[in-house]
Amino acid sequence: MSEALAIGAPTARKREPGRLRIVPPAALLALLFFYPLALIVRQAFLDDSGVANVPEIVRVLHSRFFLNALINTVTISVTATAGCLIVGLLLALILAFVPFPGSGFIARLIDTFIALPTFLVTLAFTFLYGSAGMLNSGLMEAFSLPLPPVDFLYSTWGVVLAEVTVYTPFILRPLLAAISLVDRGQIEAASVLGARPFRIVRQVILPAAVPALVAGGSLCLLLTVNEFGIVLFIGAKGVITLPLLIYGKAIQESAYQVACIIAVVNIALSLGLFGLYRFAAGRLGV
């Protein structure tokens, strides 16, 4: 008994410094992240005198500008994510199963998009598809058109296309990794049994790629919900998303409380999506 105590005592003492080690990073996290977040939440829910400002919250949440921004955000992020999933899947299948010279290089090139700032693609799109871009200039010259015929860039579709271009690599990377793990024997067995390529993709490859699709898709959804640079840079008329609305209210109109209320909704949406991502990832073993 005494031996057990003698052994136990130093162990208990040893744990103390370990517990204390968490304090500095926790304090840093609190200072840099939770405190500003708390300030935003406080600004959203309380007025200057510290009283809960429920009528203002209700007014903002029922306002047309908020609802439009919310609808735009959801529409753009869901559409862009769907686009990323489709394009990512097609590219992954081509890169994995249709060998061609330079396919590895192309895969790495697509990867580099992850490293680039998001607005850069938008800038490139302006040169390509803008009113005075290469496509419109070429078409106007070729067909003697008085006005630029291609006019999608400064719309919701322009934002969606830019986001699909920027965020597809976030789907492609995990998808290529998942596909590389699919046993080639399964694909060959399916083929010998009479399955054509489309059935093999649908019934053999896709089920194996579901975890990667869910993980990549959730990440895309999260990123596109919070996308700011692309929407701002395109400047499409009437295409206001939640991040852009927060920026406008806070910086252009100095309506900080309104901006904070919308920011809290944006944060809640992001955390909800993140929770969904973690749940799905956990269930699928990603």
């Binding site: 083929s191 059935r199 053999v204």
Partner: protein
């Protein structure tokens, strides 16, 4: 005609006639496969008769799997044609060849239940629901897995998964069944059982043509009607299994297909009307089954370890003497290694004299002329 179940206890109504006979022979006609400048299969001409099991064996990289993959349609020959029955399948995609295939790692679809795995090929071929149900039931019963239909592959042992893979291949009633080292991933004991079960399965589906690729000579000897031994992308010997084992045409075949002792001899007298030649090994005059050797030819006398005896009798008339070097007792068998004029000679014996000689002593060995064959000394392939 009903097929006996894999386990021998169930009877199914898989109709052997539907998978047998006409249209299920395989013909390789000067098939060449190459990757760039590297030729992995030199002109291969080979026939597999309907209902026959042909085992392709050979060391790694000998081209046996490439030949099977060419039949399956995963490897396109650079030249030559492959026919299954009357159909030239060289340019057909794998899904139009009407084959079944079982590979080493089972390749079951992990997200599908056993019954869905077995039904996969039938669904892919557009079979109607009632037929699919019937065929799945039959195929699973054939391999003794009827009670596992609702399980997922991860819930089965390796041997059970391989049975499901075989059922999946059989369910589509293939013209030809391709087995690519199907038992390599299994434990030795399960592998032995599975070999016997595949043999039983083929007896119950006698019309099923099987191309069986393996590096395991025991599997080949147990299952195959004929064996093709591959080496460096070429068939170095091909023939009925027992014939190839008893009368190997060359040194590689003799050594690859079961262990063989090869004693250098000089032919003293060519084979007579009864097919026996006389050969000398040192002072010993030996009688051996011969081919077309002439007197004076340098030759190799092939004798299997289990055909050597430490005691003489009326059949074991040939006698050589060796120095005992090693004795290895392995339960059922005892392996002896002797030195016969510089040539290591192995003996596998089930029965030995009560008092085994000590290593270093001279021991006479006896063997029957009918158990020997002569092969040319310089025929590496």
């Amino acid at each position: 005609m009903s097929a006996a179940a894999f386990t021998g206890s169930e009877v199914t109504d898989i109709d052997a006639a539907k998978v047998r006979g006409a249209g299920s022979n395989v013909h390789f006609d000067k098939v060449v496969v190459a990757y760039g400048a590297h030729v992995v299969l030199h002109p291969l001409t080979l026939d597999i008769a309907p209902g026959e099991i042909l085992a392709m064996i050979g060391p790694s990289g000998s081209g046996k799997t490439t030949a099977l993959r060419a039949v399956a349609g995963f490897v396109r020959p650079r030249s030559g044609r492959i026919r299954i029955g009357a159909t030239d399948v060289t340019d057909l995609p794998p899904y139009e060849r009407g084959l079944g295939m079982v590979v080493q790692n089972y390749a079951l679809f992990p997200h599908m239940r056993v019954e869905d795995n077995v039904a996969f090929g039938l669904r892919a071929q557009g079979a109607d629901k009632a037929l699919i149900g019937e065929r799945v039931k039959d195929a699973l019963a054939t391999v003794g897995m009827a009670t596992f239909a609702r399980r997922y592959p991860r819930e089965l042992s390796g041997g059970q998964q391989q049975r499901v893979a075989i059922a999946r291949a059989l369910a589509v009633r293939p013209r030809v069944l391709l087995l690519d080292e199907p038992l390599s991933a299994l434990d030795a004991q399960i592998r032995r059982n599975m070999v016997e079960e595949i043999a039983r399965l083929h007896r119950s589906l006698p019309g099923l043509t099987i191309l069986y690729v393996t590096h395991d000579q025991t599997e080949a000897l147990t299952l195959a009607d004929k064996i093709a031994i591959m080496r460096d992308g070429r068939v170095c010997s091909h023939g009925p299994t027992t014939e190839l084992y008893r009368r190997p045409p060359n040194r590689f075949t003799a050594e690859f297909l079961g262990r063989a002792n090869l004693l250098p001899v000089t032919v003293a007298e060519a084979a007579g009307p009864k097919g026996f030649a006389t050969a000398r090994h040192g002072d010993a005059v030996l009688t051996s089954a011969g081919r077309d050797e002439k007197a004076g030819d340098k030759s190799l006398l092939c004798i299997r370890p289990q055909h050597l005896s430490l005691t003489a009798d009326s059949e074991h008339t040939n006698r050589i003497v060796g120095t005992l070097r090693e004795v290895h007792w392995q339960g059922e068998l005892t392996h002896l290694v002797l030195d016969v004029d510089g040539t290591p000679v192995r003996v596998s014996a089930t029965k030995l004299p009560m008092a085994l000689p000590e290593p270093g002593t001279k021991v006479p060995l006896f063997f029957a002329p009918a158990d020997t064959s002569l092969l040319p000394e310089d025929a590496g392939v």
